[in-house]
Each structure stands twice: as C-alpha cells, then as structure tokens.
C-alpha cells in the first residue's frame, strides 16, 4: 500500500518536472529584460540626498579603494561656492574693509595724541613679544597674499603676467603657503600663551564699547594693557588662526581628512575664515600705523610715548608705575 503510494507520488513529481521542462523552452522565447531588476543610475542619483554622503560607489578590484566612488555630484556645489560665494566673500572682506578705512581716515583723520608727545617713553612690548608678533604677522602677510592669489590671480594676474609666469609664481606661492603655515602656527600658539592673561574680557570692555572705543567721539575710555578693540583683534586672530590651522592641516595632509567631501568642507572653512581674517588684519594694520599717532612704536621699538600710553591704556600705566617701571627719556625722533 505504502510503497505503491510513494511510487505514485514519485511519478507525480517526475510528471511535474517533465511538464515544466516542456513548458520552459516556450517561455524562454519571450523577451527577457535583465535590466528590469538591475541597478539603474537614475534611481541612484535620485536617492542621493543633497549635503549627505552624496556619492554613488561600489566595489573595486584595484588596490586604490578611494577609486570605488563612481559618481560624486557634490563637486558641483563646491564649484559653485568656489567660483561664486568665495569670490564674493573675498571681495567684500578686502575691498569693503579698505573702503571703510578710507572713509574712516577721511572723516576721523589720524588719531593724534591729544596732549602731544611727552619726552618720556615706557616699555610696552619687549623683544620677545615683538619677535612673536612679527613672525606671525610676516607669515600671515605671505599666507594672505598667496591665498588671495590662488582665489583671484586667475582673473586678475593672468592677463598681466601670462599663463606660464603666473603658474610659476603660483607654484612658488603654494610652497610658501605650505611651509610658512608652520611658523605661523607656532607664532599663533606663542601669542596665545604670552597675551591671553591680558585678553580676558572684563567689565571695562563694556564701558569701552559704550564710549565707542574712542574711535567714534573724542573720549578715551580707560583700559588696562589691552582695550576691548585689541581684545577683539586678539581673539579673532586666535580663533580664526586656529580654524585656519585645523582646516589647513587637513588640506596639507589630504589623507588625514577622510575623503574628498571633507576636503571640500575644510576648503570652504579655510577660504571664508581666511578672507574674513584678512579684512580684520587690514583694520588692525591701519590703526596700528597710519591710523593713530604713536601706535606703531608699540610694535616698532617697543617703547611708546608716555602720553600715548596714558591716553589709551591709563590703568596699564598706573599698574606699571606701581610695579616700579620708570619711564625713560625719549630718544630723538624724526619730526612727523
């Protein structure tokens, strides 16, 4: 009984398989569409969310695994930024600041020492302070010029110098930018260490802002070693410089950044912060030289006029006097 049943079911299976086999060739003649179930570019492109890990990639059998990305449309946004926003930010920061300074100079003029120069000077910055300042400043000037060159040189300088000369110049500029980044970073760290204690924001800074910092109006708000404006310069250099250092580090060592999308991001940070800081430093350089009588001495000889010091840093002078620092007789100065 059982045996015949199982034999019958076995025949049943055979019969089914046979039937399938007969039907199969017929179905093979119908068109097969392998792409119906295959991966398609359009569906992959549509699935890309803008801003996220915007890449289509797969597996690759060559050793360079970075090459496994097939299409990366995110470069378009970076291109738009680099060719549009970046130029705008740079032009506004640099030309805008220059325009502001010209207007300021035309209306306010050179800020004079209102009591005139005294015959005495007081030490404002020692040799090491000035060395750190000028190391950082010198590097920054070259870094800024080479940075501006790589952004605007193509439009502004190629018509003047021609392609070959400009490319050679820019190649040197790239090396200068890469190498001077290191003394700049060291200078930045030293500046932070030697000046941070005098740059902690305090109540005096609010008064300074309330009185327009002496820039607007005629008053001279009292200040310790650094007034609120100088503190702003300090912190924009420290924080901006830190952002430039970090982003620049990734750009300099591209394999540490973790992919080209991160490099695009760090490039944007580097460009924007760089341009804004160039604008800020233009203002700093202006007020430290032609914008104010007696101000350059602080970073020049390090010895500032006592009257200048009393006007701009009254509380600092008091502190110095208390410490027993005596003003020295002024060296003969060329008439201005």
């Amino acid at each position: 009984m059982r045996l015949s049943q199982s034999i019958r079911s076995l025949f049943g299976v055979f019969g089914f398989v046979l039937a399938l086999g007969l039907v199969a060739p017929a179905s093979a003649q119908a068109p097969v569409n392998p792409t119906a179930s295959s991966v398609r570019e359009e569906q992959l492109l549509n699935a890309l969310k803008p801003g996220s890990a915007a890449e289509i990639g797969g597996r690759i059998s060559i050793p360079d695994q970075k090459a496994s990305t097939l299409i990366r449309p995110a470069g378009r946004e970076w291109r738009e930024f680099h060719q549009g926003t970046m130029h705008l930010v740079g032009a506004v920061a640099v030309l805008g600041m220059l325009a502001l300074l010209v207007i300021f100079y035309a209306t306010r003029g050179r800020i004079a020492i209102s009591t005139g120069r005294s015959n005495q000077t007081i030490t404002r910055f020692g040799a090491f302070d000035r060395f750190v300042h000028w190391t950082t400043a010198g590097c920054f000037i070259v870094l800024a010029l080479t940075g501006l060159n790589i952004t605007f040189g193509k439009a502004l300088l190629i018509p003047i110098f021609g392609e070959a000369t400009f490319a050679a110049m820019t190649q040197l500029g790239k090396y200068a930018h890469n190498y001077l980044a290191f003394p700049f970073m060291i200078g930045l760290a030293l500046m932070f260490l030697i000046w941070v204690k005098d740059n902690i924001p305090s109540k005096l800074d609010i008064d300074w802002f309330m009185q327009g910092g002496g820039l607007i109006g005629k008053g001279h708000p009292k200040a310790k070693r650094f007034n609120a404006g100088q503190k702003m310069v300090f912190w924009s250099v420290i924080l901006g410089g830190a952002a430039l250092s970090l982003s620049g580090w990734y750009l300099l060592f591209p394999y540490t950044a973790g992919g080209v999308l991160n490099l695009q991001f760090w490039n944007i940070v580097h460009g924007v912060v760089g341009m804004v800081l160039i604008g800020a430093m233009l203002a700093h350089a202006y007020i430290g030289s032609i914008g104010m009588e007696g101000a350059f001495d602080a970073m020049g000889s390090g010895e500032v006029d006592l009257n200048w010091a009393k006007e701009h840093h009254a509380l600092w002078v008091e502190d110095e006097m208390k410490k027993g620092v005596m003003p020295a007789a002024a060296r003969l100065q060329a008439a201005e």
């Binding site: 068109p31 569409n33 392998p34 792409t35 119906a36 179930s37 295959s38 991966v39 398609r40 570019e41 359009e42 992959l44 492109l45 289509i56 990639g57 797969g58 597996r59 690759i60 059998s61 060559i62 360079d64 970075k66 090459a67 496994s68 990305t69 097939l70 299409i71 990366r72 449309p73 995110a74 470069g75 378009r76 970076w78 291109r79 680099h82 060719q83 060159n149 790589i150 952004t151 040189g153 193509k154 190629i158 392609e163 070959a164 400009f166 490319a167 820019t170 190649q171 790239k174 890469n178 750009l251 300099l252 060592f253 591209p254 394999y255 080209v260 490099l263 695009q264 490039n267």
Partner: protein, 198 residues
C-alpha cells in the same frame, strides 16, 4: 568636428578590467595612478552592474572652472586636456570632479601633490603631437594617429564605447532596441547634462 565621449554599456561590461590594464600600459601611467577603473555596483546582489569609468571630458568641465592657474583646455574634439607645465598640484580639480578622475603622484614633502594626471582620451597634451615630451608627460596620442582610445578599442565585449557622441549614442540605441533593454548611459547626465533617450 566630433564631440568625443565615452559610453559604458553596463549590460555588456563583464568587469574584466582589461580597459584599466590597457590604459596603464598604453600611456605608461605612473605607479599608484589609474586613469580608468571599473566599479561594480550592488556587488553580489541580483542586478549588479559594472561600469568602467574615467575622465568623461565633461561639457563645461568643473575641473577647468576651478583651476587657479587655468591649466585646462578643450581640444577641437571637445577632449578636456591639461598642461602639466602649468599645473601646480593644488587639488582643486580633484575636489570639483564628479568622477574622481584627477589624481596626483605623491612627491616631495608632506602628502604634497605632484602634477595632476588624468585620462587624456588618448589625445596627449599641449606638446607637439607624438613628440617624446608629450608621451613622457601624458602618454599616448592615438587621436593624432587617427585611432580611438585603447581602452574602448580593445574592450572584449564592446561594452566601452569611445568616439563621437552622436555615433556612440546611435550604436547604443540600436543595441537597446534590438535586445530590448539597457540600463542607460552612466555618467552622461552628470558630464554632458543630457542622456540617451531610448
């Protein structure tokens, strides 16, 4: 004049990587650089596809737009080439390229980039056609010899097509009509802002 393009028929590509090898050999590409590569998408899953990809010689090429020293130029055949004499190795073209084509030999200090290298559509560079200097910097100039890029010429399944955009689009269309399917011209939308309507 022709408008040179690449087209990879993903339904024919068998991921043999012969195009990659042929390119390296023909152009004597530096160690560590692959001007062409084959990427397999959805590997091991039903419907996986392999696509051979290199510089697509884009219309309105992003690399050329962002280059700070303007080292790129487009030939009469619309092939995007560059001058290694002008290139400063800044990496911007690599940031902007949607196909990951620009690569740099590691030279000198840091991870410092050397002169950029990429697919030339086997069309050499700005030096005199077929000169030793051209070969040394850019590799072969098959276009000057009246030949098409070697990667496509020797493709065993004729998946990779290179040539005038209209002609290769026509070949691809005919294939799709005859066999009844096709997964599209990969990269065309991104590179040429158009695709092949079937």
């Amino acid at each position: 004049m022709a408008r040179m393009k690449f087209l990879c028929d993903a339904d024919r590509c068998i991921e043999c990587n012969a195009c990659v090898t042929a390119c390296k050999n023909e152009n004597e590409v530096p160690w560590g650089i692959n001007r062409r590569r084959v990427v397999t998408i959805n590997d091991g899953k039903p419907g996986e596809r392999s696509i051979s990809m290199a510089c697509m010689h884009c219309t309105d090429a992003p690399c050329a737009a962002v280059c700070p020293v303007d080292c790129f130029y487009t030939t009469v055949d619309k092939v995007v080439l560059h001058s290694k004499d002008l290139c400063i190795g800044c990496g911007y073209c690599f940031y902007a390229c949607p196909f990951g084509a620009p690569q740099y030999p590691k030279v000198g200090n840091f991870g410092s980039r050397g002169k950029m290298d990429k697919c030339t559509f086997c069309a050499g560079g700005p030096e005199a056609d077929l000169s030793p200097a051209e070969f040394q910097k850019y590799g072969s100039n098959r276009l000057a010899e009246g030949k098409l890029p070697l990667c496509a010429e020797m493709c065993s399944t004729k998946a990779l097509l290179a040539g005038d955009g209209d002609i290769i689009a026509k070949i691809y269309k005919e294939r799709v009509v005859k066999r009844g399917y096709g997964s599209g011209a990969w990269g065309w939308k991104t590179a040429y802002k158009e695709t092949i309507a079937i």
